[in-house]
Symmetry: C3
Subunit: 224 residues, 3 copies
Amino acid sequence: MNSSRKGDRTVLDQLAGLIALLINPLVMRLWDKLWRKVRWQGYKSCFGSVGAGSYIESPWMITNPANISIGSNFTALSRLRMETFEEYLGEKFTPRIIIGDNVAFNNDCHIGCINRVEIGNNVLGASRIYISDHYHGRIESADLEHIPTERRLFSKGPVIIRDNVWIGEGVSIMPGVTIGSNAIIGANSVVTKDIPANAVAAGIPARVVRILEKGPAAITGNIE
Amino acid sequence: MNSSRKGDRTVLDQLAGLIALLINPLVMRLWDKLWRKVRWQGYKSCFGSVGAGSYIESPWMITNPANISIGSNFTALSRLRMETFEEYLGEKFTPRIIIGDNVAFNNDCHIGCINRVEIGNNVLGASRIYISDHYHGRIESADLEHIPTERRLFSKGPVIIRDNVWIGEGVSIMPGVTIGSNAIIGANSVVTKDIPANAVAAGIPARVVRILEKGPAAITGNIE
Amino acid sequence: MNSSRKGDRTVLDQLAGLIALLINPLVMRLWDKLWRKVRWQGYKSCFGSVGAGSYIESPWMITNPANISIGSNFTALSRLRMETFEEYLGEKFTPRIIIGDNVAFNNDCHIGCINRVEIGNNVLGASRIYISDHYHGRIESADLEHIPTERRLFSKGPVIIRDNVWIGEGVSIMPGVTIGSNAIIGANSVVTKDIPANAVAAGIPARVVRILEKGPAAITGNIE
């Protein structure tokens, strides 16, 4: 008996040690990091497609990932939210989010889609960026007959962000907008109309404050 | 002895299996989801009142929930912060946050209150909305005698958001403001003055860019 | 045998009870709170210096904390991000973030530094504040030869925020800017140029809307 109890103790001690290790906050944190990687590996196959080297940090909030195509080397920091709505109030949609190669977003970015959101290659996004191709309603008098959540979703047109665009902190990009290649959008701006290539734009609504031009004869203004 | 050790092994194996299961990230995630529901059920009774079907997603940051009344079918996504201050620098307040039925907020919204914040029915809020009925100080010369945290909180007046208002991403709503029914507030705007019913408002400070009117003779402008 | 198995049961029951307790969400939450404190205590020594009474709430995202000096009684709520870059695209930097005494930030603030960011004493910051002393590029035509992430980081100058400044929700403070003592920056503003002492500034870009003056003869305008 005694020796049996001693054997129990030894095994139980080992087990208690193992539990203590597993429950240890530092180990739980490493476990959490590992789990983020594992979770991403497991989730990747849910997307329409994902290129090599792409990684989204947990936690994320993604709806209908089959409608989303992601190129290679895409990275997004925590709390990315990407939603494609296939149906709302009985109406059907065929949404598509298409992201190119080498695109990077920082924390808390959010893309909403019922129509089409295209993001080109090498686009650099800061944090708290909001991109949507639709509104709750058409923002016209007929909307007043319904409460906001019971207005039919309406897309004025797709959002297209071309190659090499750099989007600042807290920027909102509204439905139907195209942002040309190499454009730079200043912090906290709201883009409601097309922005031409090579433009620096800022404000609510965003206005072009400068055009960057190639070549030695380029005339450049000042952003401030 | 041998058989006893074998018995230990079997029980210990089962126990080890149970631990492995409980510690498993997937199970922990389900556990976490369940815990969010359980936590909400347990927390509900702390509010002044909460209607049927309301749900706030964890984590949240709520101060003095007894001063907050929530109608039915309220939903808020993660990281909602609602603070009612009953005392600051020795001064007493009787704050009240009153939220109607069918109100929805997305992520990272924040309401601060020392006086009164009223949100009507069917209000739809996006993410990163900030609503406050007070400042740290009166924003006048006398403030300069104190550092910001040692200025007395000052409410110019309650914030009232009427029925069916739709509030865009990143909007800030400042003390003393009333937003009329059916109004729409554009992304990243800062509302510093009253907005009339049926208005579309945008910018810093928010200005009315359009009034939606009922009936066939409605004259509607363009938001951009 | 029987008695040995009974002994196993007792010990195993206790162990199972202990596991159930440790895995209990409420205990995990307390564990998490304790862990936040412990983690902060352990992390403090990584900074260049930290004064007494300072506390940063987990989770945070801090890069090269040795380049960061924090005064006493600094507090920051969740998801603070402070990054000092010592090298980018092969170029070396000597970044310094210097924070005074009694500084408070709320949630989701972000400071990026390759040069120098100075924050004085008694500065009060709301949530979602972004402060940076550098851009990805010089925002000029030569940038067009590279994709955004391959443009050399460029600092137009340090960011200096003097004593007693109060920074509103969602404010962005851009490279090369000095904000004078006692200034107040309105919500969602983007500060692109120097703001004088005692000024109230707002908008994109931020413009002075009022100057607070000391003494009985002070002439004060209205913020709205």
